[in-house]
């Protein structure tokens, strides 16, 4: 039994957020701050012939203008270090920074940007992946071989990164197959679009750069700044503000280097905030992709072998897509038994804005492709679609395509819970008698990012606990409430008695960032380890005060007490004060790293993620109706069965699921960040359509209790995965309704109508 873990405690930052007093990156103010704006490339590819800032620098209010000439000639990046801070000789995408201005007001900075004289000799842009992969295509990075890498990987010219998974005799499986099915799918860019745009305020003090920004992964931002600015990482301090949403888009450095250099040049704090148009057009979205997949099956629908070829658009520079290049293969071969597999993912440079992490990086389109492909196989074999999945889905103890054994897979439970909530053979009520009806169901394995973390726990002299860590509170509540619950549980406190310092790279130990569902998993483990030591320290001091053996003591209700003797207790405050004069202040640090995944190491190349660390299991189903006159898709019912290990705060987990599903609905039906000829066409939320309250479908949630022995109180990661299956199961449901395959996302009313009119049939498919 736990006392605090498992309850719906309130978040510590909640009051400030509902009162409007929380200070986000966009709100951060320092007296004397100058305002910055960027000059960005107006063309997708070209060579800078002339860049003259002299007239602009003389305008009223302008304090400094910086260009590539003012910063070290280096490139930076997380895995593949290919990105300069400013375009130096060549520009590679529309929106690439060329100069930065600091002025008294934003308007003056904008005027100065407009006055900078820039001449570019345009190059023919390689606007899409086909152009970039064509034989003899111009190299977007002529010096690609010279870029440093965090870890080596296969690369070549316009292929920024390649990852392969090759295991077993695939050709033999295809030769022996009853049936071979092949499909191709394309998916679009999806923009994270947090309410808060990227923002940064920089200062230069004590010979160091100090930057305040809503950074998801402050240590990555620190390291990127150090690379670009040519200083040791210790010369950079990143202080994380309240974060107004990120979803992966605020993992990497974006505006921070410009305010740092401008602050040094001007001797003043400098602030830079993206406009919404800059957000959509330059702040990296989920990558567009094309997937070709081919499967050998038996007459009974057993998967005998599979191969898939994925190309994913990197844009002009590399971010997290390279880091996650192995993920599509893991998704293809990680949920249904694929005994032999050959997968390849190429991350391709184009003259478009760089793409970046978005919740479930590289996952949603892989699952979309796989599940539509399975529907195709089911139709060919005349097998019910759900039945096909049940025949192939991995059971506990079975291995997946990379050789990893999934000891705790709970797909059987997941399918069973979904069936209880929304039976496959039943229909939800509908108000539209003309509507076409359809259902979809699918499953996926996902991971908890294994990045490292640490936490220091101390007991304050009033008997409360303080936690120092660099975990960024991105909004999930992982730090603001989950971590407090864990520390409170450990130390016999209430969550209100646990105070957590906001993330700051000067204070907290290294943290792998608010990404990949890892924050509460990793920091929770670190905090449990620290709390265990803190408890020992407390008990040792209290043992003297209580004249009892430490083994007979326990922590409860803010006291150390003798087990079984209600009156014999001493408040934590007294223990902490006594410790100041006896054992020393009560404090300990814990740390955490997830052990490497055990897999068949010979089968993967170019893989930063080699398997599913701390795997989680997910089954989703969707029921839709399609209006045959308008093509409109309405989601009548949506069900999520999710393994979170154990929910530290069930209400916050539900919130993650609701939010992830609606982002997935956006990806499936509405959101399409259009790019043509290197131009990102969507510059405002008028044409880039985010789901509103009207689009939120009814969602039933079943949390599958599957405690993880190496998780804090059994918890696994819970943030990302609810987004991943949504487009897959909605597409299956729409396809079922209209009797036509869905091969592209998003599924717009125009696409639905066009599909319905292809040959006039509107019959349901194989169910």
């Amino acid at each position: 039994m736990t006392r605090v873990v498992g309850t719906n405690a309130r978040r510590a930052d909640g009051e400030d957020k509902v009162r409007g007093t929380a200070v986000y990156g966009m709100d951060h103010g320092v007296t004397g701050t100058l305002q910055a704006r960027l000059l960005r490339s107006p063309v997708p590819a070209g060579r800078i012939r002339r860049l003259d800032t002299a007239r602009a620098a003389a305008l009223p209010g302008v304090h400094a203008i910086i260009t590539a000439a003012d910063v070290p000639d280096t490139t930076s990046g997380w895995i593949l270090k290919d990105q300069p801070m400013f375009a130096r000789e060549e520009v590679r995408y529309i929106g690439e920074p060329i100069a930065a201005v600091a002025a008294e007001t934003t308007e003056q900075a904008e005027d100065a940007v407009a006055a900078i004289e820039l001449e570019i000799d345009p190059l023919e842009p390689l606007a899409d992946m086909d152009a970039a992969l064509a034989d003899g295509a111009r190299l977007i990075h002529p010096n690609w071989e010279s870029y440093p890498m965090l870890a080596p990987g296969p690369r070549s010219g316009n292929v920024a990164w390649e990852s392969t998974l090759d295991r077993g005799d695939v050709d033999a499986a295809f030769a022996a197959a009853h049936l071979v099915v092949e499909d191709e799918f394309t998916t679009q860019r999806q923009h994270q679009s947090p309410i808060e745009p990227h923002a940064a305020v920089g200062r230069f003090e004590g010979g160091r750069y100090v930057v305040h920004s809503p950074a998801q992964f402050p240590f990555l931002v620190r390291d990127r700044l150090a690379e670009w600015l040519g200083v040791p990482a210790s010369k950079v301090r990143v202080v994380v503000t309240t974060i107004g949403g990120g979803f992966g888009g605020k993992i990497d450095a974006m505006l921070e280097p410009f305010v740092c250099v401008l602050a040094r040049k001007t001797g003043r704090p400098v602030r830079l905030v993206n406009t919404r148009a800059e957000e959509l057009q330059t702040a990296g979205p989920r990558e567009n992709a094309r997937i070709r997949i081919r499967t050998a099956v038996s007459a009974e629908g057993e998967i005998l072998g599979q191969e898939a070829d994925t190309i994913a658009d990197n844009g002009a520079y590399s971010g997290e897509i390279v880091a996650c290049a192995a993920v599509p293969g893991l998704v293809f071969g990680g949920t249904y038994r694929v005994p032999v597999a050959r997968y390849r993912t190429r991350v391709v440079y184009t003259n478009t804005a760089p793409t970046a992490a978005f919740r479930g990086v590289n996952g949603p389109y892989a699952m979309f492709a796989l599940e539509q492909h399975l529907d195709h196989i089911a139709a060919k074999l005349g097998i019910d679609r759900r039945e096909l999945r049940l025949r192939n889905v991995v059971k506990a103890g079975e291995s997946i395509a990379n050789g990893q054994v999934l000891d705790d897979a709970v797909f059987d439970k997941g399918f069973a819970r979904v069936e209880e909530i929304a039976p496959w053979a039943e229909q939800a009520p509908s108000g539209n008698p003309r509507a076409l009806r359809g259902k979809g169901i699918g499953a996926v394995t996902w991971l908890t990012n294994p990045g490292p973390g640490g936490a220091t726990v101390k007991i304050n002299e009033d008997g409360t606990a303080g936690v120092i860590c660099a975990g960024a509170e991105i909004g999930t509540g992982a730090v603001a409430v989950g971590l407090r619950q864990i520390v409170a549980e450990e130390l016999g406190l209430t969550p209100d008695q646990v105070v957590i310092l906001p993330a700051d790279t000067d204070a907290g130990t290294y943290d792998g960032g608010a990404q990949g569902s890892r924050t509460l998993f990793s920091l929770g483990n670190a905090a449990v380890q620290a709390s265990t030591q803190v408890r020992e320290q407390l008990l040792a001091v209290a043992a003297n005060l209580l004249e009892a053996s430490a083994a007979d003591l326990e922590l409860a209700d803010g006291h150390v007490r003798v087990k079984g003797s209600p009156g014999a207790q001493v408040p934590l405050a007294a223990v902490a004060l006594t410790a100041l004069h006896t054992a020393g202040p009560i404090s300990a640090t814990g740390r955490h790293i997830t052990p490497p995944v055990q897999f068949d190491s010979g089968c993967l190349t170019g893989a930063l993620f080699t398997g599913f660390a701390t795997p989680t299991y997910h089954v989703h189903s969707a029921e839709v109706e399609v209006d045959p006159d308008t093509g409109k898709v309405t989601i009548l019912r949506y069900v999520v069965a999710q393994d979170v290990g154990r929910a530290i705060n069930p209400q916050q987990v539900e919130g993650q699921i609701h939010g992830g599903v609606l982002q997935g609905v956006g990806y499936a039906l509405y959101e399409d960040l259009r790019v043509a000829d290197g131009v990102t066409l969507d510059a405002s939320l008028e044409s880039y359509r985010l789901p509103t309250a009207f689009e939120a479908p009814p969602i039933d949630i079943a949390l599958l209790d599957n405690p993880w022995p190496d998780g804090p109180y059994g918890a696994k990661g819970a943030g990302e995965p609810s987004l991943i299956p949504v487009a897959a199961v909605i597409a299956s449901a729409v396809s079922d309704a209209i009797g036509k395959p869905i091969r592209n996302l998003p599924i717009t009313p125009f696409d639905v109508l066009a599909a319905l009119r292809e040959d006039g049939t509107t019959e349901g498919s194989t169910r």
Partner: protein, 157 residues
């Protein structure tokens, strides 16, 4: 141009051009950063304030249109050192806040609704949020919180 109006019942005088966005005045000279500059184009609703009781996107509201009116922002919903109001409290109780950047606008839209109708149903709640984007929560827990307040007011929750 001098402009005179009230913000959260306090009389203010602001010297700025007529077309200055009300949001800039609130966040700049008036120091009220609760309303958020999410998009600057009236699409996201994070800057929603009440002007004479009606929700307005303050990023698109010219300062001149505030002249002589009552402007209310999220900071005015509760006394700074007093308890939360029922809507604020319900949002936290029901888990309707994640990153919180949309929350000030959501609260003002709901405040306008509840001042019109103390017991709105689900459709009315969703209607009132038509101009507010929340990217985190999927809206369910926000709607649930509003319906709980409606229930406490005697409506069917």
């Amino acid at each position: 141009m001098p402009h005179s109006f009230t913000v959260n019942d306090r009389r203010v005088e602001v010297e700025a051009p007529d077309m200055t966005p009300l949001l800039s005045v609130l966040r700049g000279p008036l120091g009220l950063t609760g309303a958020k500059p999410g998009c600057g184009e009236g699409r996201c609703g994070a800057c929603t304030v009440l002007v004479d009781g009606r929700p307005a996107a303050s990023c698109l509201t010219p300062l001149a249109l505030a002249e002589g009116r009552e402007v209310r922002t999220v900071e005015g919903l509760a006394e700074p050192d007093g308890p939360l109001n029922p809507l604020q409290d319900a949002l936290l109780e029901h888990g309707g806040v994640q990153c919180g950047a949309c929350t000030p606008g959501i609260l003002m839209a709901l405040t306008a609704l509840f001042e019109r109708d103390a017991t709105p149903d689900e459709a009315a709640v969703k209607e009132s949020l038509a101009g507010n984007i929340c990217r985190c929560t999927g809206y369910h827990k926000i709607v649930e919180a509003a319906l709980a307040v409606a229930g406490a007011n005697g409506g069917r929750s």
